[in-house]
């Protein structure tokens, strides 16, 4: 099979590149990595009018071909055909923001000079018009010497025209870079860009009214901070309150599946394995899908609306106090969803010490994998009532757990900046994009991708870990009168761990769950569910009793609280450790991270347990 023609989508950050990519490819996208680097490779398929397919790659946004960060390096190498494992693209689609023409044209000129077949997508012409800017695409096309197509990616405007132009410039013949592009200075290219932009502007009234009006609140020293905190608070309340209905439905399906297994299969080892290891274990994790999607929904919205950069601006003053910059706030906020993309997002931080510190504290941000654990314990032990005039107590506790992670991260950053990552604080330079209302499809595609990743995890890592755990916890079979979870191989290993964690209030259930939980945090829930299901075989009905109710009977409140405190800090995620190793090129920093986080987790759980016990809870 011959390779499809390759089209690279390239442009400045905030030019609406990803929205155009989504509009062109729909859900036919493939996420991967460029070999050797952890920069995400986003590609998709596009069919021309005659049915010919093209591969289109969404390159990381960059301001020039002079890279300052690893993802900008990928863009440069890809376009020049130097990226390992990639070939020279057959065509470039340069995305420029119509409202920021003179700036974006400078990079466009740099790209056009390469001599590849090129189309300029003059994107977000509607927002430019909103800001009082009217442009003539024909004049622009004449001056640039390449086709210029006005587009509004979010409304799918101009896409047919773009496809038709692609059809024209992709000849199927070989393409080559211009052998010796004339070296022009940065300033000369910029002046040319200014000249061309001015010629293309039909009418201009300088205003960014909407963005300016919103920024007056969003960037206000007091109101902006109140707004940011309120937004985060609503986000965490929503995770609990919106998710309860869909979670109950999923829970119903899991129970029905368990009943079906019992009805279809004869009692025996296969029946037990499916019911206890698969349905009981993996099912216990899957019911948290709605909460995770709600969290991702908020994070995707913050990014797509342009608010994320404002949050970074608001946080820079505070971040500077612990030796970081506001830029570090974005990977850290992403880490609320998952530390793995969070750590990968630190690649936009150019200062190595800044970046290392951010990587080391990223696992302290409460990731979505902790939600099943927090959700289970909070729902079981914290009463669902309101306090302080209408605030849900469960949501409040969840919020406090997030705050504990943030405070822990800030203290850790300060300590790291004074010791292992000593150095001057670097600067903070960032573009603040225009506000815009995201296209629902873009958010849905993002959520869909996250749901697939979560379900894949549940079907692979979590299922496999659970299967191994089920075997270890089921054999050898305990004699009558002895608990299976204590007699089995897993029970004996847990007995060893228990010696270490008993002082901080952990019981044998928790000791048993801690080891498999290294694979992924959610496993804590499925592991406990599996073990209880096995024990339940000896008496109780396995599926009818909900996990939370079972926990209530077996754990004291101080133990439950200590368990929550442990999970705020403990680095129990093999993927995070692996990505840290890759990003820091060695085992030194991941080992350091695991060590300091376990130490913190132990101390935090201990203090929580002793305090709660002393308070008579």
């Amino acid at each position: 099979m011959t390779a499809l023609p390759l089209v690279a989508l390239v442009g400045n950050p905030n030019a609406g590149k990803s929205a155009l990519f989504n509009a062109l490819t729909g859900a036919r996208q493939k996420l991967g990595n460029y070999p050797g680097v952890t920069v995400e490779r986003k590609s998709g398929r596009l069919s021309l009018d005659d049915g010919r397919p093209l591969e289109i790659v969404d390159l990381p946004g960059t301001y020039s071909l002079d890279p300052t960060s690893p993802d900008e390096q990928v863009t440069r190498d890809f376009i020049l055909g130097k990226q390992a494992g990639e070939r020279l693209p057959d065509a470039l689609v340069i995305v420029v923001d119509a409202a920021n023409l003179q700036n974006h044209l400078r990079f466009a000129l740099e790209l056009i000079a390469l001599g590849l077949p090129t189309i300029v997508a003059l994107n977000m012409v509607d927002l430019a018009a909103r800001d009082g800017l009217e442009l003539d695409a024909n004049i622009l096309s004449r001056d640039l010497g390449v086709p210029v197509i006005p587009t509004v990616a979010v409304r799918k405007r101009g896409l047919d025209h773009l496809r038709a132009e692609l059809d024209k410039i992709i000849t199927g013949g070989p393409v080559a870079l211009r052998p010796s592009p004339d070296e022009k200075s940065f300033d000369a290219v910029r002046d040319e860009a200014h000249r061309i932009a001015r010629a293309a502007i039909v009418r201009e009234t300088p205003s960014r009214r909407l963005t300016a009006a919103v920024d007056r609140i969003a960037l206000h020293p007091v109101m902006g901070l109140v707004f940011l905190l309120a937004l985060l608070f609503v986000m965490f309340q929503a995770v609990f309150s919106w998710a309860s209905v869909p979670a109950d439905i999923l829970e119903g399906w899991v129970t029905a599946l368990g009943t079906a297994v019992t009805a279809i299969l004869p009692p025996g080892i296969v029946h037990d394995f499916l019911l206890e290891g698969v349905v009981g274990g993996v099912g216990a994790v899957i019911v948290f899908l709605p909460q995770i999607l709600i969290l991702f929904f908020f994070i995707l919205m913050l990014e797509a609306t342009g608010y994320m950069a404002r949050a970074a601006f608001m946080m820079d003053g505070i971040m500077a106090r612990v030796g970081l910059s506001g830029r570090a706030f974005i990977p850290l906020l992403s880490s609320f969803a998952c530390a793995v993309p969070g750590i990968m997002a630190t690649r936009t931080i150019s200062d190595p010490k800044d970046r290392l510190t951010t990587i080391l504290i990223a696992p302290l941000m409460t990731c979505s994998a902790r939600l099943p654990v927090y959700g289970l314990i909070i729902a079981a032990f914290i009463p669902a009532r309101t306090v302080l005039g209408g605030i849900g107590l469960q949501g409040l506790i969840l919020f406090l757990l997030y705050v504990a992670g943030i405070v822990g991260a800030m203290v850790a950053a300060l300590a790291l900046r004074l010791t292992v990552a000593k150095g001057n604080s670097s600067g903070f330079l960032m573009e603040m994009p225009k506000y815009q209302w995201p296209r629902p499809q873009d958010i849905l595609i993002g959520l869909w991708q996250r749901a697939v990743i979560f379900l894949k995890r549940a079907g692979t890592i979590i299922l496999a870990t659970n299967a191994v755990l089920w075997v270890l916890a089921s054999f050898p079979t305990a004699p009558a009168g002895v608990k299976q979870s204590e007699y089995s191989i897993a029970g004996r290993i847990a007995g060893g761990i228990n010696v270490l964690v008993e002082p901080i209030g952990f019981n044998r259930d928790i000791s048993l769950a801690l080891l498999p939980t290294m694979m992924a945090r959610e496993v804590a829930v499925s592991a406990i569910a599996t073990v209880y299901a096995i024990d339940a075989d000896q008496g109780e009905d396995a599926v009818s009793m909900e996990l939370g109710d079972r926990l209530k009977g077996r754990w004291s409140l101080p133990t439950a609280l200590a368990f929550l405190a442990w999970f705020v800090f403990a680095p129990q995620c093999i993927s995070t450790i692996a990505v840290t190793r890759r990003e820091t090129n060695g085992w030194k920093w991941p080992m350091f991270m695991v060590g300091y986080l376990f130490a913190l987790a132990y101390v935090a759980a201990g203090i929580t347990f002793w305090t709660a016990t002393a308070a008579g809870l």
């Binding site: 301001y63 020039s64 002079d66 300052t68 409202a99 920021n100 003179q102 700036n103 400078r106 990079f107 940065f186 300033d187 910029r190 200014h194 300088p206 960014r208 963005t211 300016a212 920024d215 007056r216 960037l219 206000h220 020293p221 007091v222 902006g224 901070l225 950069a309 970074a312 601006f313 608001m314 820079d316 003053g317 505070i318 500077a320 106090r321 506001g326 150019s350 600067g427 903070f428 330079l429 960032m430 573009e431 603040m432």
Partner: protein, 84 residues
Amino acid sequence: MRLTQLPLRKPAYVDSIDWTLLSPAEGQRLREYGLCEGASVEALHHGGIFGRGPLACRIGRMTIAMRRHHAAAIEVRTGPGEDA
């Protein structure tokens, strides 16, 4: 007057930039954001309630956040100027 001293929302122009006060990477980034002599500039917001946070300003048609030491390297003048 320096950009740090420019009153908020008072349109001005970049008079000169002391590139020696910026690291090469910072200088390059600011150039890519469109900072150049003659560019129109406006200070928009001061960030942070605990001491002096960053500064948000408009350069050309872009809004940029920078720290105060970056803004201190930028000399501005109000009144008529070449629009770039």
